[in-house]
């Protein structure tokens, strides 16, 4: 696929949009058309040629509105972009057109009673730079905290470091409001409140451009980092569950890895006993003692600890080995590796994990992120996969599905085939109102069939 729309004179579009910053340079636009889709060999094949035609970087909401009105008039597709840290091509313009870089909409607007309001392009780390001095932090964040934007996280993410306390983006109460611009002749500015926000969360920007958002924060704790080693991944998983369910121990991260996955954590290797499974944990300082006791009782051995605010040395924050950073560490060492995403849930979920480990062994080195889902503790499996071919990959997926572990396929850019599993009727209905012509991030929401709408020539 060689992306791009050939019928449009892009320099003239840029001129029409001036003074909004527009870039037509092919290399730069291509770079800004990509995310981390290449974690998946399947997506890599399909998306590697995708690129937009014009990079538009608005600095305020008026410029977003102007860009959308203009593109609507000329039937030019628009794909919004945060920092491009997604893994499924969420921000990739399948049909070319405008890549709307929201990175300059990066103002921190307010913090009151623990509720933060920010523009979508504010980086998560920068948001916390504002809130931490006032004693507040993000309830949860992806492992890409240092680079990802808050809008990108809400439009393309699901949960992360902290989900063991607060659940995910779809858990009621974690996103209070979204300001969304519609893709219409006269774009409307909508303020979604309460459950209305679910219409646009994790919709990849297919049904409106998120410009501002409001989220409740959590009070900060001094977080203590620890690595616990276990003889096998079964024990480590059992520990993860017990720790997750220990109401008296405050934690922000409980991640478990088979040695098959842990062996790629290069900066940690001098601390990791070869062949052992590990748990990476973030524990509130006052919970350290109870945590250490629980680790010991579970047959674990603490092999690394770093006090809250302690000297980093050569070792990055432990959360940068978790969630989808795990796959990145593996890929740095072995380009043939990819990964899966599934949910181990239900009263027998530890047993399901054990069966997956027994069935696939080192073909899918186990990686678990313990999290709260629907009021209880479960684990996301982000197993690494030693990739052979697509057919085998889908055999593994079929086995997991048949075993009662729903898979959020990370090898598709289609919204419904990923985490959502089914058509989200509310999101679809919302898209019909906000983007009737189907110009926003086209090709991602399968249920939506846009009317045919050829590009409109520039009026003379």
């Amino acid at each position: 696929m060689d992306g791009g729309m050939k019928a449009v004179d892009w320099p003239s579009v840029a001129a029409d949009l001036a003074p909004i910053e527009c870039i037509t340079d092919r290399a730069l636009v291509r770079q800004k058309s990509r995310d981390f889709f290449w974690y998946s060999p399947v997506l890599n094949e399909r998306l590697k040629g995708v690129r937009g035609d014009l990079l538009v970087s608005p600095t305020n909401e008026d410029e977003v509105v102007r860009t959308l009105a203009y593109c609507h008039g000329r039937r030019i597709p628009v794909t919004p972009r945060g920092a491009g840290t997604g893994n499924y091509g969420q921000a990739m313009p399948l049909e070319g057109g405008v890549v709307l870089d929201l990175g300059r909409l990066d103002r921190f607007l307010s913090l009151e009673d623990g509720v933060a309001r920010a523009q979508a392009g504010l980086k998560l780390g920068d948001l916390e730079a504002h809130s931490l001095p006032q004693g507040w932090e993000l309830r949860f964040h992806p492992s890409t905290r240092r680079t990802a934007t808050i809008g990108g996280f809400i439009a393309g993410g699901s949960g992360g470091v902290g989900s063991i306390q607060f659940g995910g983006l779809r858990s009621r109460g974690n996103v209070l409001g979204l300001r969304v611009i519609t893709m219409e002749e006269k774009p409307r500015v909508l303020e979604l409140r309460g459950e209305e926000v679910m219409q646009a969360i994790h919709a990849y920007g297919t049904n409106g451009i998120i410009t501002e958002l409001e989220i409740p924060l959590a009070r900060t704790w001094p977080w203590h980092e620890a690595i616990v080693a276990f003889d096998d991944v079964g024990r480590a998983a059992s520990f993860g569950n017990t720790l997750g369910e220990a109401d008296g121990i405050t934690k922000k991260l409980v991640s478990v890895f088979d040695w098959g996955a842990a062996q790629y954590f290069k900066p940690l290797l001098s601390h990791l006993p070869a062949g052992q499974a590990i748990a990476l944990c973030l524990i509130a300082d006052p919970s350290r003692e109870a945590f250490a006791m629980l680790a010991y009782d579970s047959g674990g051995r603490i092999v690394f600890e770093r006090a809250a605010g302690g000297d980093g040395g050569e070792i990055p924050p432990l959360y940068e080995f978790t969630w989808n950073h795990t796959t990145l560490w593996a890929l740095k060492a072995d380009r043939t590796i990819t990964y899966l995403q599934c949910l181990f849930d239900g009263p027998d979920y530890l047993d399901k994990i054990a069966r997956a480990v027994a069935t696939f062994g080192d073909e899918t080195p186990m990686h678990l992120e313990f999290t709260r889902v629907g009021g209880h503790v479960a684990a996301f499996g982000l197993q690494l996969v030693r990739f052979t071919n697509e057919q085998r990959l889908y055999e593994i997926i079929a086995w997991l599905e048949a075993t009662g572990c729903p898979v959020a396929d990370p090898h598709t850019f289609i919204l419904e085939d990923g985490g959502m599993k089914t058509i989200d009727e509310a999101q679809l209905a919302f898209k019909r109102q906000t983007d009737p012509l189907g110009l926003l991030n086209p090709g991602k929401m399968r249920a939506f069939s846009p009317p045919a709408c050829p590009v409109v020539e520039r009026p003379a």
Binding site: G374, G375, H376
Partner: protein, 448 residues
């Protein structure tokens, strides 16, 4: 007992604050056991022979040594806000009133260390000044002491987030004094905390308590009213299971319980409606409002929680204050205390409400247990006689609801904590070899 004790016993206490006025002895030997007509009959008239008010741990050690040497029973008193006669001296002797052992030792990095007699409300306010707060407290927060809570309490306001007092990580350390001729000071940490936690002071004298704290949040108090009990119960459960809603209180009260509540704003407690009392962090107040509306309820009160002696906080209508509010209006009611089956608690709650109607007014406190939302219940009962009370209990049992008997002062009748019962019995053998601490409360000791 004192009359039998030689003058040397009094001499050993020389210089300590002693009280032996009969009115004081009677008044200070009571807790709120009179919620139970059964306990009232059993405990009325029980009193200590001498009250000692220590100001330092050294003074506690002197009292313990004297009691051990002279064989005098010793019972520790905190705020005396218990409901099962936890601190009522069954065999007279010394009542050790901890009210003056009330220094806050330190608060830092999410931990606080307090002498046993510090009032929970005072401790909480001190923590708040440094950005922290207690993880949980009983509804008697303003009167109860830190030591009394860990010796006689189990959970409370905050348990919907932080679970039970006995959960690892809640209580970080207890410093205890043994009852021996030469008393030892022992620091209990980790699993050893179980030796003295919720032991009614039968195994040792708790003089210092180290608690894990929580970062302080701005709280909003809310009341939601529902036409239908099942809807209210399902709402309370759904609220507790909402991982993205940060709660401190989630209490369900069936009509006509709200009829007993005085002092709330007009319109808060609509006639005939079942209510849920909520404390939620300010940032999630709108989320709760939306959930109430979606579930067919109405928010009848929403106000910012403030520390103000002039305002009755919402939590003073919850936990065992619910029973107290009812008793203030109707002396004939009493209550039950029950544990619900995990995963089927709402069904059991609804079934029990249907089984007993207004004879047993449902009151459930939602809380985290093993990482999940469950409830325990403090049902208010229109009391007829003891036989009928046990009949009700048997009816509850058919629904999978277990009694944690509030009509007994026996330690082992509360829940089933066999592990810590063994630990406590073993510790009592070494720390109180003559069995002088709160005698008559630990049935395994009495039997041995």
């Amino acid at each position: 007992m004192i009359p039998a004790a030689p003058p040397a016993f009094r001499a050993a206490l020389d210089g300590l604050e002693l009280i032996d006025h009969p009115v004081q002895l009677r008044l200070r030997s009571r807790d709120f056991y009179w919620y139970s007509p059964i306990l009232k009959a059993e405990l009325d008239g029980k009193a200590a022979d001498l009250i000692v008010v220590p100001r330092t741990v050294d003074e506690v050690v002197r009292v313990a040594a004297a009691c051990a040497r002279f064989g005098v029973p010793l019972v520790v008193r905190g705020g005396a806000t218990g409901n099962y006669g936890q601190m009522v001296p069954l065999q007279g002797g010394v009542l050790l009133d901890m009210a003056r052992l009330d220094r806050t030792l330190w608060i830092e990095r999410g931990r606080g260390r307090f002498e046993a007699g510090v009032r929970l409300g005072d401790a909480d306010v001190l923590c708040q000044k440094q950005g922290w707060e207690l993880r949980m407290f009983p509804s008697t927060r303003r009167q109860a002491t830190v030591g009394g809570y860990v010796c006689g309490g189990a959970a409370g306001v905050g348990s919907i987030r932080y679970g039970q007092l006995r959960d690892a990580g809640s209580v970080l350390a207890l410093k205890v004094v043994t009852c021996e001729p030469v008393p030892r000071l022992i620091e209990l940490r980790g699993v050893d905390i179980g030796k003295a936690l919720h032991a009614y002071g039968t195994t040792s004298i708790v003089v210092e308590v180290e608690l894990a704290l929580a970062p302080a949040y701005p709280w909003v108090e809310m009341v939601a009213a529902f036409d239908d009990f099942a809807t209210a119960a399902q709402f309370a459960q759904a609220l507790g299971e909402s991982d993205g809603i940060f709660l401190k209180l989630d209490s369900l009260m069936a009509w006509p319980l709200p009829r007993y509540f005085r002092g709330l704003e007009e319109g808060t407690l609509p006639d005939g409606r079942h209510i849920v009392m909520i404390m939620v962090t300010a940032g999630n107040a709108t989320t709760v409002r939306d959930l109430v509306r979606e579930r067919g309820g109405a928010v009848t009160l929403e106000r910012r929680y403030v520390e103000d002696r002039a305002i009755t906080p919402l939590y003073e209508y919850t936990w065992n204050h619910t029973t107290l509010q009812a008793l203030k209006i109707d002396k004939t009611v009493t209550y039950l205390q029950t544990i619900f089956p995990l995963g089927a608690n709402v069904e059991a709650l609804i079934a029990s409400h249907e089984m007993f109607g207004e004879e047993v007014m449902a009151h459930a406190e939602f809380q985290r247990r093993q990482g999940r939302t469950n409830c325990s219940s403090l049902q208010v009962v229109r009391y007829s006689d003891e036989a009928r009370l046990w009949e009700i209990v048997r009816g509850m049992e058919t629904l999978g609801i277990r009694l944690s008997n509030p009509h007994s002062y026996i330690l082992e009748d509360k829940g089933a904590r066999v592990l810590s019962a063994d630990l406590q019995l073993a510790f009592k053998r070494e720390a109180d070899p003559r069995g002088l601490l709160n005698p008559g409360k630990m049935s395994r000791w009495t039997a041995a």
